[in-house]
């Protein structure tokens, strides 16, 4: 709509008016008004409202009073003038000037707003008046006044003029229908104006007092509102500095109280999660330590096994072969050769077992089901007292990380059952679900206190199982009772 040169490029955030100049004013006002603090805002609002209300009411009352008084003055004056006119008839007709004068004087004295009264006969001559000995205001007899605008109340004319004594309302009442003359009564509204002004003053004073009370109330209100907010801000800063034990006080059951409660809950959750993270960190640190030591242990074991088992066997092979080399007995050499073959075979078998223990190639080649079956049979060979029941419901291969994890978890669970549990039977169930794969390893051993072990972080194995599952986004649960232990694992696909 406006054809102003758009030299401003920045769009205005506050633009309620169509005119661009007005919008700029609005933006400036908003910027100033918005930047004062809440206390000032509330104070300002309360003050503005109170004063506006007070002033509006005062003005209205003043206007109403003024108009009501004016009406009252007019109607009372009309009746006084009318009465005066009718009481003037006899004195005028009887030429009783003294009575006429008395009548006028008493009327003026008895009426608090009357300034003067005088009577003109039907020739326009002054018969009596209340102006005293100093003469008569000639201006009142000016013939030009005949044509002045006046309002009529029955027979009585009411006209207004300004004078050195303020605004004067004059009533002109005909006496005996005008046949005997007229009486003219002059009144001021000075007294009534004074009353209006007094009342106005009182109302303004009341407004000021109420405004003052309003300021006090507003300050109380802002204190009530901002105290909890400021406390919350302080608590936020404390939390920001790292003190997660800091809590915001709950001042009242209002919105701010709810905010404080929510904030406290958030800090508590934050604290708990930090603790959990710290625990996990701790546990992972320990795990790392233990993994490294376990790795060393494993290497030590492998080294020892290689040295003790395979090394020994290879040594005896070498001895045998040396013996054969030195011997000429062909038949004995044939027997020795047989023994040596057997030994070599056992050695190979040991190497294979060792190799498989380390990393079954079956797992990579044929998958989890096959690897578990081989492990189960080897387990049975190693622990004859424990019956192993294995079921694998795996229609196909799974991602290698999941297969490895599940293999190690089952391996660890079964090892635990054999090592600690005094179990006699272990059942393993691995099944493929729609979106996950599930493994359940159950033994009937003596059980253990899962929580205690977890908290002490003494079992790398259990922690390791959980870690493996969690790393893949899954979950591991151990339930243990004196009747046995069950390990549940679920890993999403």
């Amino acid at each position: 709509m406006s054809t102003h040169n758009t030299s401003l490029n920045t769009p205005l955030s506050v633009a309620p008016f169509p005119s661009r100049r007005l919008n700029r004013w609005a933006e400036m006002v908003w910027r100033v008004a918005g930047s004062v603090d809440v206390r000032t805002k509330i104070l300002g609002m309360v003050l503005a409202l109170t004063t506006a209300l007070g002033l509006a009411v005062t003005l209205q009352v003043r206007a109403v009073m003024t108009s009501v008084f004016a009406e009252e003055l007019e109607s009372r004056s009309v009746s006084v003038a009318s009465d005066l006119a009718s009481r003037s008839i006899d004195p005028i007709l009887l030429n009783d000037t003294y009575t006429l004068h008395q009548l006028l004087r008493e009327t003026v004295n008895n009426h608090p707003d009357a300034l003067y009264a005088f009577v003109l006969d039907n020739n326009g001559q002054v018969l009596a008046h209340t102006f005293g000995d100093a003469g008569f205001p000639a201006g009142l007899l000016d013939p030009a006044l005949e044509t002045v605008t006046a309002t009529l109340h029955g027979e009585i004319r009411h006209w207004v003029y300004t004078s050195n004594e303020g605004t004067v309302h004059e009533m002109i009442a005909p006496i005996m229908g005008g046949g005997a003359g007229v009486v003219r009564l002059g009144l001021t509204d000075t007294r009534l104006q004074a009353i209006v002004n007094t009342v106005t003053g009182q109302m303004i004073l009341t407004t000021l007092l109420v405004a003052l009370a309003g300021i006090v109330a507003a300050m109380l209100l802002t204190w009530l509102l901002t105290r909890p907010i400021l406390d919350l801000v302080a608590t936020t800063k404390e939390v920001g500095r790292g003190d997660l034990q800091a809590r915001a006080p709950h001042w009242a059951d209002d919105e701010i109280g709810t905010l404080a409660d929510a904030f406290n809950q958030m800090v508590a959750d934050l604290d708990a999660s930090r603790r959990a993270i710290a625990e996990k960190e701790q546990a992972r640190f320990l795990l790392l330590k233990k993994l490294i030591s376990a790795q060393e242990e494993e290497r030590k074991r492998i080294a020892r096994e290689l040295h003790d088992g395979v090394g020994q066997m290879l040594t005896s092979l070498m001895v045998g072969m040396r013996t054969m080399q030195r011997s000429d007995d062909a038949a004995l050499n044939q027997e020795r050769m047989e023994e040596l073959c057997t030994t070599a075979g056992e050695t190979l078998e040991q190497v294979r077992v060792l190799s498989r223990e380390l990393r079954p190639s079956l797992l990579d080649d044929l998958g989890l089901a096959a690897a578990l079956e081989r492990y189960a049979s080897e387990f049975t060979r190693a622990h004859a007292a424990i019956a192993v029941d294995l079921h694998c419901d795996l229609p196909g291969r799974l991602p290698s990380t999941i297969e490895t994890a599940l293999y190690r978890i089952v391996q660890e669970a079964m090892t635990n059952a054999a090592r600690h549990g005094k179990a006699t039977a272990v059942s393993v169930l691995v099944s493929r679900r729609i979106n996950s794969v599930q493994a359940i390893v159950e033994d009937n051993g003596a059980g253990f206190n899962v929580e205690a072990v977890r908290r002490q972080q003494s079992s790398v194995g259990i922690f390791g199982m959980s870690e493996r599952a969690e790393l893949l986004g899954g979950a591991l649960d151990i339930e243990s009772s004196p009747e046995g232990t069950t390990v549940y694992v679920e890993i999403p696909l």
Binding site: Q125, F131, F136, P137, G139, T149, Y161, S163
Partner: protein, 304 residues
């Protein structure tokens, strides 16, 4: 365009705040005083007609305005109607020649004639007679049948000098051997007969003595008045209130006025005026017609 609109709104707002009056009020300085101008004497001498306080001042104006208009027309000069509160004041006015013609009450003439030579001009004639009566009235609710029944009551007189309105009543009491001060509980003056009638009709007075002409006129004009009052006594005939002139009036004027009044009933307009006054015509009258009044006045000793 929006700028122009906002400018317009501003102008309207300012206009609305402007004072409501479209005209400026006249200004008069009440402290500027001048002595009142004396009324300049008219070039033509007005005929001053006085009417005694038989009726109330307003009643007199109502009744005599047609007559004064007629006279003004006939004489070709303005006519002023003058009244006074009491008969005594009125007589004083006549004595000082402040009126040229006066319609006066009977006893006022008697006294005036005696004291300074007030002259009879003419008298009204009603039904062939120039007489009137004093009538004693009471409220219609009253059980009184005569003056004697008004003992201890409130009585209204008209004027101290009124014959029908006081003197005759005092005479009646005198005949009974009483005085108003002892006979009545309280008396007061109404200074006109029509107001005395109203006082009785309204029950303000328990009784009054009034001029029969005034009573007739009042009953004629206001028939329902008859339901509120009752006449309990009717006096003998006395000379009717005359029309007089001051002794200083020039003879030529006196004759002119007399002839004018005597011929009034022959004039169409005059007849209408006479009828409005309740009179048939004006006639000449002798001083002796008022001897009956004189006797009773002397008997009561009022005014001596």
């Amino acid at each position: 365009m929006c700028n122009r609109l906002s400018h317009l709104l501003l102008v309207f707002a300012l206009a609305a705040c402007a004072p409501a009056q479209s005209t400026v009020l006249p200004h008069i300085d009440l402290s500027v005083r001048t002595p009142l101008p004396q009324a300049a004497p008219g070039e033509i001498a007005h005929l001053r007609v006085g009417v005694a306080a038989i009726l109330s001042p307003q009643g007199t104006v109502e009744s005599y305005s047609e007559l004064t208009t007629y006279l003004a027309e006939k004489l070709g000069r303005p006519v002023d109607l003058l009244q006074r509160r009491t008969y005594a004041e009125f007589n004083d006015m006549v004595e000082k020649s402040q009126v040229d013609l006066a319609f006066i009450c009977t006893n006022s003439y008697v006294v005036g004639n005696e004291q300074f030579g007030m002259e009879l001009l003419v008298a009204p004639e009603i039904n062939g007679e120039s007489v009137y009566y004093s009538q004693l009235i009471v409220p219609s609710s009253s059980t009184a049948q005569s003056m004697a029944d008004l003992r201890g009551k409130v009585f209204a007189f008209t004027d101290p000098m009124s014959f029908t309105g006081r003197i005759y009543a005092v005479y009646m009491l005198q005949q009974m051997g009483e005085t108003p001060e002892h006979f009545f509980q309280r008396t007061f003056y109404t200074y006109s007969h029509d107001r005395a009638i109203d006082a009785v009709a309204d029950g303000v007075a328990d009784g009054a003595a009034v001029d029969s002409l005034v009573l007739d006129y009042a009953l004629q004009r206001n028939p329902e008045l008859a339901t509120r009052i009752r006449i309990i006594h009717h006096s003998e005939a006395f000379g009717i209130p005359p029309v007089v002139v001051p002794p200083t009036l020039p003879v030529r004027q006196k004759v002119h006025l007399r002839d004018l009044l005597l011929a009034m009933h022959e004039d169409d307009t005059g007849k209408v005026v006479l009828r409005s006054l309740g009179i048939d015509r004006f006639v000449e009258i002798e001083n002796t017609a008022y001897d009956g009044v004189r006797e009773i006045v002397h008997a009561t000793g009022i005014g001596e």
